[in-house]
């Protein structure tokens, strides 16, 4: 696979040239934080960043996506016929995505693209995207990717990986898709051994910055019903506001709700992100709500991520260790601590 070295200026210039082939998303400074946005003349990427406030999941899985549309105008031949709404699957590249967020797409893929079921929209958006990752030289104190199967320089789920060498980027293709991206990227020069070593040397210090111990090794052996009835849920949930911050900022939360919206005679069927923190999420048509209080809802979120997912997919936990929920939970409910409680529960 190709490895090339670019000065940072050269790289920004190359991004401009790539717009001919891809819609390019990058981290853009947006007030107090960074947001992945389509890069255009006005929006310039800023690769000197920690991570985006919202995960880039919305590029593949929009917060609100029109699935179908229909007409209620009975003078039209196709009245009441539900038709798929046009979607944009033109190639896009997500440049500067952190390895944890790319790993998160792999976690989510097990749900949206399983051997039995394939979500047509998620899979097509995902296929159209080239993920150009940026290795983490300085993970945050709230990061714990190494504890959940990731790494600050994890290549799994990425097509290209960038190493930040100060004034230059080492750009490494990881997949054929990444190789195609790099072929279209103008400029750069061959990386010599010195550069490759400098990039390799970034890895260990970055790993050592992650000090949180979040053991997940015993989650699988727990009896689900015992964990479900564990005495700590009440205490874990006390402070919870039941807002959607954790689930909406999370790169691995995938739940949605489908709504019909009609304006005049034009109807749209829209899928929106939903959150297990909301009472409406589990409200039945009968009026019964099986998760009627917040303790049940908080338990559901953690059981789904750290037990049901573990048992169902036999492939780790439904968490990539990005630390967003730890940093931005308004009441400081810390998944690292809850995971420890669950893993240690006897």
């Amino acid at each position: 696979m190709t490895e090339k070295i670019f000065t940072k200026e050269e790289w920004l210039g190359a991004m401009e040239g790539l717009k001919e082939f891809y819609k390019i998303f990058g981290p853009v400074k947006d007030g107090d934080f960074h947001t992945f946005m389509p890069l255009n003349g006005e929006k310039k990427p800023d690769f000197d960043y920690g991570n985006s406030r919202l995960s880039p999941k919305s590029i593949i899985y929009p917060e609100s996506e029109r699935m179908f549309e229909y007409s209620l105008d009975e003078t039209e031949d196709d009245a009441h016929i539900v038709k798929e709404s046009p979607k944009d699957y033109s190639p896009c590249a997500v440049v500067g995505i952190r390895p944890c967020d790319a790993h998160a797409f792999q976690i989510v893929k097990r749900n949206f693209d399983s051997p039995e079921y394939q979500d047509p929209w998620w899979t097509q958006h995902f296929e159209s995207a080239t993920l150009v990752g940026l290795g983490c030289n300085a993970p945050c104190s709230t990061c714990f990717c190494t504890q959940v199967g990731g790494d600050p320089f994890n290549e799994e789920g990425l097509d290209v990986l960038l190493f930040d060498l100060g004034d230059r980027f080492l750009v490494k293709a990881v997949t054929d898709k990444g190789e195609a991206f790099l072929e279209k990227t103008a400029g750069g020069s061959a990386a010599d051994d010195g550069v490759l070593k400098a990039a390799e040397d970034l890895k260990q210090p970055a790993r050592e910055k992650i000090t949180a111990a979040v053991p997940t090794d015993r989650l699988k052996e727990k009896v689900t019903t015992e964990l479900f009835d564990a005495p700590f849920w009440e205490e874990v949930a006390f402070a919870c506001l039941n807002c959607g911050t954790c689930t909406y900022l999370c790169p691995t939360c995938w739940c949605f709700d489908i709504q019909d919206e009609v304006q005049g005679k034009q109807g749209d069927r829209i899928r929106n992100w939903d959150s297990c923190m909301f009472p409406l999420f589990s409200l039945h048509g009968s009026g019964h709500n099986p998760r009627d209080n917040k303790v049940q809802r908080v338990r559901q979120r953690f059981m789904h991520k750290l037990k049901y997912y573990v048992d169902k997919y036999q492939n780790g936990v439904q968490c990539s260790g990005c630390g967003r929920c730890v940093r931005y939970c308004p009441v400081n409910i810390d998944i690292r601590e809850v995971c420890k409680l669950m893993n240690d529960f006897a």
Partner: protein
């Protein structure tokens, strides 16, 4: 402010041991800097988890709603005003509460601190007198607390609890000469088009997580209007009209009730200043009804009374 931690622990221990309360609600130190977690303590042996510093900006009154036990609770100025509102609105009974008052000198705005250190990661923060020291991997900076108050605290004129059973310190001097509504007046001066643009931009980042609503002690409806499904009043997508409807209606539901505790802004993951809505209503209730919420549990709020001798003609 830090001196209160020990006093809170002692008081909670005594109240629980003497069975004056079943539970005690306060804060514990958070796992990340500038963040504390609301905590319920139900045994005298557990009081050492209780903690108090300049980042106790969440409104604890939120955790009182419809509880049936006897509760000890910490209350600074704004929290005590929400307790009064809760009593007035029958969400809790006065005799269920043992209110431990704390004179408050304002909470620190975590976003302002992050900005001041250019968003470098903060690993530790310590108060030293009227200043505080912020430490990160490769920096250490000292700031003056007064300049970093939450914007609601900077204009607060009710720092001392208005209702309590016991006070943990001497009352602090109330701020005078503050201009709480300078920002509202700026918006009032805009023409309708400009106003629309201002509010549209204000909420453009909203992700409809409802953290603002859920952190607000006034929002205790069993089912919020945005969660109603039969009929459904508001669309669920991130269509700007629906998002605007949510913010406007939420604010109007708080008219004459908001104590400007700032919990809504504090919790917003997107940093939206939704107090711009509620402050306008606070300003109006002050001007029209000489009313500030939560100062007196004997008085009915202006928007829930009818008086035959009302001085407004339109209501007769």
């Amino acid at each position: 402010m830090l001196k209160y931690t020990e006093k809170i622990r002692e008081t909670a221990k005594r109240l629980l041991a003497e069975e004056k309360v079943d539970v005690f609600i306060g804060y514990q130190k958070g796992s990340v800097p500038m963040m504390n977690e609301p905590l319920l303590v139900n045994h005298p042996d557990k009081v050492d988890q209780l903690y108090w510093d300049n980042f106790c900006g969440l409104n604890l009154c939120n955790y009182l709603t419809k509880r049936t036990d006897k509760i000890g609770i910490i209350a600074n100025g704004c929290n005590s005003r929400n307790i009064v509102t809760h009593i007035t609105e029958n969400q809790i009974k006065r005799d269920q509460l043992y209110i431990v008052g704390i004179p408050c000198e304002g909470m620190i705005d975590h976003r302002a601190v992050a900005r001041a250190v250019k968003h470098k990661e903060i690993l530790d923060i310590k108060q030293e007198g009227s200043t505080f020291v912020v430490k990160g991997d490769d920096f250490e900076e000292t700031f003056e607390k007064q300049k970093f108050l939450q914007t609601n605290c900077a204009v607060c004129t009710h720092r001392n609890p208005v209702i309590y059973d016991e006070m943990l310190g001497d009352p602090v001097e109330e701020q005078t000469g503050v201009t709480p509504y300078a920002d509202v007046e700026k918006i009032e001066a805009m023409d309708p088009e400009k106003k629309q643009g201002f509010f549209t931009r204000l909420i453009s980042r909203c992700i409809r997580c409802y953290a603002c609503r859920n952190a607000c002690p006034l929002c205790y409806c069993p089912t919020c209007f945005v969660d109603e499904s039969e009929p459904q009043w508001v669309g669920k997508s991130i269509d700007p009209t629906d998002t605007m409807t949510f913010h406007f209606l939420r604010a109007y539901h708080c008219a004459g009730r908001c104590t400007d505790c700032g919990a809504c802004e504090r919790v917003c993951p997107m940093g939206i200043s939704m107090r711009q809505f509620t402050k306008k209503l606070n300003k109006d209730t002050e001007a029209l009804f000489s009313w500030e919420a939560g100062l007196d549990s004997e008085k009915r709020p202006p928007l829930d009374v009818y008086r035959p001798d009302d001085y407004n003609d339109f209501i007769k």
